[in-house]
């Protein structure tokens, strides 16, 4: 085939451009570690990567939500532990006070202790979440103190009002999975999450039962203490034990969800890498190949350009 002289230069320029373009793309892949950077590089891989990145960010959010709930569950657990101690002590007092050997003075001393326990319970039930500053046991009406009390002239609590509600906030901890570490202070509806202090389903009404115990102690009504208060306080103790167990179950649930979110995130990392990352070894080999081709093209071009009939005629 007859070759025009400018065909050499045109062809060489095209080849140089192509090889330079290949080298640029491959070098860019090596430098960034990414095979796909723009949608046009690989539209399907880009689409998958965007979906995977979004999913991964969501998994990270689940992990953050779980951490928030775990912190709250830990705070709740601290309150539950102290309530359990108080409940246990109240049960002991009820049992001891029923003994025939106790004098009225003994019962009055017990009543004073129960007064103290009542105040401790009110304080515990009005604990705030340290991270949000909101009340832990007010349900979703957590703007004001969940439990307010009425007192007599001596400062003893004579009545308790619950200002919260029986709802709790849910947080997303996984795909289609929500959880709550909150416990409403009271639930008198018989359905939904059990109340911490008052719960109609389990018969718990801790503060009122403590007030009743104190009143019966002051009145020396050992029969009522033995027959009614002990049984009621047992219900309260059971309810608190249930909440402790439930909190433990929740914490385990959160730990499992956190593990799942972390595993999912790692798996998504792999998928993102598979879709969009450059295989470093293959890319380096391709880059070397392109460099060799470029060098060969430059050398052969330089040699061919030097030759013509003019080199041989005088």
């Amino acid at each position: 085939m007859r070759i025009a002289s400018h065909s050499y230069t045109d062809s060489m320029l095209n080849q140089y451009n192509q090889l330079a373009s290949q080298q640029y793309a491959l070098q860019n892949q090596v430098a960034t570690g990414l095979r796909v950077q723009a949608p046009s590089d690989d539209p399907r891989a880009m689409q998958n990567t965007l979906a995977d990145l979004a999913n991964q960010a969501t998994q990270t959010q689940y992990t953050a939500n779980i951490a928030t709930l775990q912190t709250r569950a830990t705070s709740v657990d601290g309150v539950l532990q102290s309530l359990q101690t108080i409940s246990s002590r109240a049960g002991e007092i009820a049992t001891s006070a029923g003994s025939a050997t106790n004098s009225q003075a003994d019962l009055t001393n017990y009543a004073d202790e129960v007064n103290s326990l009542i105040n401790q319970v009110v304080n515990a039930a009005n604990t705030k979440d340290p991270s949000t500053g909101k009340y832990l046991f007010g349900g979703t009406a957590s703007g004001s103190a969940p439990f307010t009390t009425t007192t007599d002239a001596s400062g003893n609590v004579t009545g308790v009002t619950y200002n919260g509600n029986s709802s709790v906030n849910q947080a997303q901890i996984g795909a289609g999975m929500t959880a709550s570490a909150d416990i409403p202070g009271a639930n008198t509806s018989g359905t939904g999450p059990r109340g911490l202090i008052t719960d109609s389903a389990s018969g718990a009404d801790f503060l009122n039962h403590l007030i009743s115990l104190r009143n019966n102690l002051n009145a020396g009504n050992k029969t009522a203490i033995t027959n009614t208060d002990s049984a009621n306080l047992a219900k309260d103790e059971n309810n608190i034990a249930y909440q402790v167990a439930n909190n433990g179950v929740m914490q385990n649930h959160l730990t499992a969800a956190a593990t799942f979110a972390t595993t999912s995130s790692q798996s998504l990392s792999q998928m993102i890498s598979n879709s969009s990352s450059a295989d470093l070894m293959t890319t380096m080999v391709q880059l070397n190949k392109a460099q060799t081709s470029y060098q060969a093209a430059l050398q052969s071009g330089a040699k061919i350009m030097q030759l013509s009939l003019l080199n041989y005629i005088q």
């Binding site: 085939m1 007859r2 070759i3 025009a4 002289s5 400018h6 065909s7 045109d10 062809s11 090596v30 960034t32 570690g33 990414l34 950077q37 949608p39 046009s40 690989d42 539209p43 399907r44 880009m46 689409q47 990567t49 965007l50 979906a51 995977d52 990145l53 979004a54 991964q56 960010a57 969501t58 959010q61 689940y62 953050a64 939500n65 928030t68 991270s131 949000t132 909101k134 007010g138 349900g139 979703t140 009406a141 957590s142 703007g143 509600n165 906030n169 947080a171 997303q172 929500t178 998504l268 990392s269 993102i272 890498s273 969009s276 990352s277 450059a278 295989d279 013509s308 009939l309 003019l310």
Partner: protein
């Protein structure tokens, strides 16, 4: 017999003939790098014989013409190819602008997300990540309804709205750039049409006198090739070899006359089209950069704009429907979350920006600590939207991005393919019409030697004439 003077004339004619050969070789070598130049060859034939008593006797050689070596078939193929290349190049440019405007790229480094094989982490720079950030901010607010979470939601929403606004502006700029490109192409085409008509006239004049107009033909061929990159057209041959040009049903050049020129017009939607300037007849373009620009602008670019607007509009409606039904932490209501209706106008309600605590995420005026609506909004991330082809926000956007990627990827492939075809055709044409240095140098030597030989004939005959004149009788 020619005799001494006849032979001298023969040698002189030969000198002129060989000189013309040298001139043509020189012309070819001079134009070796001239774009569109077709090599020329000198046609030499033996001069008419004369009849003598001993039979026919030659009278030497003479130039019968200087011929341009062209392949009409290849020229036609290159013109056709020019339209296809121009179409895809224009598509590539407009779609590249759209891709840049969307700004959805993966980065090889960043503080979050996954780690790839090279050890860098992968993040995305565009709307996708910010959409997820907004839903995640609501998720965080649901889990921990605090002031800082409320501020985070407003921050994420503002960033998302700004990105929507920027994309809308960038896509609008891409559309403006496409219109400007079309206007510029139309102006270039008009100049070429005028040049071609002028060349038709000059070629006709030159050939009418029996001459050749090789260089003018090359210029016209070059103009036709340049025009083919702008738009496809059909040609017909008129009187005196004139090329008549018809673009999309409009006969724009007839012989030496430009009947009409092209002009852009706005059909009412801001997307310029092409019509004849005087006749006002819409021109149906089928190839070239003009049609490529129009196709990309009215196709994928318009789809992008529509989809991004649709995404913004559905997001505004979905978030506002939930948020507006709720109550803020003081039990108040009445503040919408997003303002605006599309990507250009979406924004976050200034009242909420100034006071994030007014976000309405409670399901009741009394349950002021409730965050169930924030949870509902965060769950929009995985909810399909009837207004988005029953896809989630993220999936719909991902499909849009992939659609643009497909279109640009196809344009890139076509540009590469068409470049290869153009190069092949150009090389083929070069093998016929291009100048080869070695060949021309060989021709130069051939003519030079023949010239030297003819000069030797002149010298010999001259000596013979001198001998004759010196004879003494």
């Amino acid at each position: 017999m020619l005799g001494l003077f006849g032979t001298l004339n023969l040698a002189a004619r030969s000198l002129q003939t060989q000189m013309t050969g040298v001139e043509v070789a020189g012309q070819n070598l001079a134009n070796i790098n001239t774009p569109g130049y077709s090599r020329q060859v000198v046609n030499i034939a033996a001069s008419p014989d004369i009849t003598t008593t001993v039979g026919s006797e030659g009278t030497g050689a003479e130039v019968t013409g200087i011929q341009q070596i062209v392949s009409s078939l290849l020229n036609a193929q290159i013109q056709s190819q020019g339209s296809t290349s121009g179409y895809w190049n224009a598509q590539q440019t407009t779609l590249q602008n759209a891709q840049n405007g969307l700004n959805e790229f993966l980065n090889g480094s960043g503080a979050t997300s996954s780690t790839n094989a090279a050890g860098a982490s992968t993040t995305d720079s565009g709307l996708s990540g910010q959409l997820t950030s907004l839903f995640n901010a609501f998720s965080s607010l649901a889990a921990s309804p605090s002031t800082s979470s409320q501020q985070a939601v407003i921050g994420a929403a503002q960033q998302l709205a700004t990105t929507f606004n920027q994309i809308s502006t960038q896509l609008g700029s891409a559309r403006t750039a496409a219109n400007m490109s079309l206007t510029s192409d139309v102006a270039s085409a008009n100049t070429l049409l005028s040049d071609i008509a002028t060349l038709n006239k000059q070629i006709g004049t030159a050939q009418f006198a029996g001459g050749t107009a090789n260089d003018l033909l090359d210029q016209r061929e070059q103009d036709l090739e340049n025009l083919s990159k702008l738009t496809s057209f059909t040609t017909s041959t008129g009187a005196n070899g004139a090329v008549n040009i018809n673009i999309g049903g409009a006969a724009l050049v007839s012989g030496n006359t430009v009947n009409d020129t092209l002009a852009t017009y706005d059909p009412g939607n801001g997307n310029l089209l092409v019509q004849t300037a005087t006749g006002g007849q819409p021109v149906i373009l089928t190839g070239g950069s003009m049609q490529g620009t129009i196709a990309a602008r009215d196709g994928e670019l318009a789809t992008m704009q529509t989809n991004v607007d649709s995404l913004a509009s559905n997001l505004v409606t979905a978030v506002n429907t939930i948020q507006n039904s709720g109550y803020n932490s003081a039990g108040g209501t009445g503040n919408t979350f997003f303002t605006g209706t599309n990507a250009a106008t979406i924004g976050v309600n200034a009242v909420l920006v100034n006071n994030p605590s007014l976000i309405q995420i409670s399901n009741s005026a009394t349950n002021t600590g409730d965050s169930s609506l924030a949870l509902q909004i965060s769950q929009l991330a995985t909810a399909t939207q009837s207004g988005l082809n029953n896809q989630t926000f993220g999936d719909y956007y991902g499909t849009t991005v992939a659609g643009l990627g497909d279109a640009l990827s196809k344009a890139n492939t076509e540009v590469a393919n068409q470049t290869a075809v153009t190069n092949m055709l150009t090389t083929q044409r070069g093998s016929i019409s291009g100048v080869n240095t070695d060949e021309e140098m060989t021709n130069l030597m051939t003519f030079q030697r023949a010239y030297q030989a003819s000069a030797q004939v002149v010298t010999t005959v001259n000596a013979m004439i001198a001998d004759v004149l010196a004879m003494k009788v």
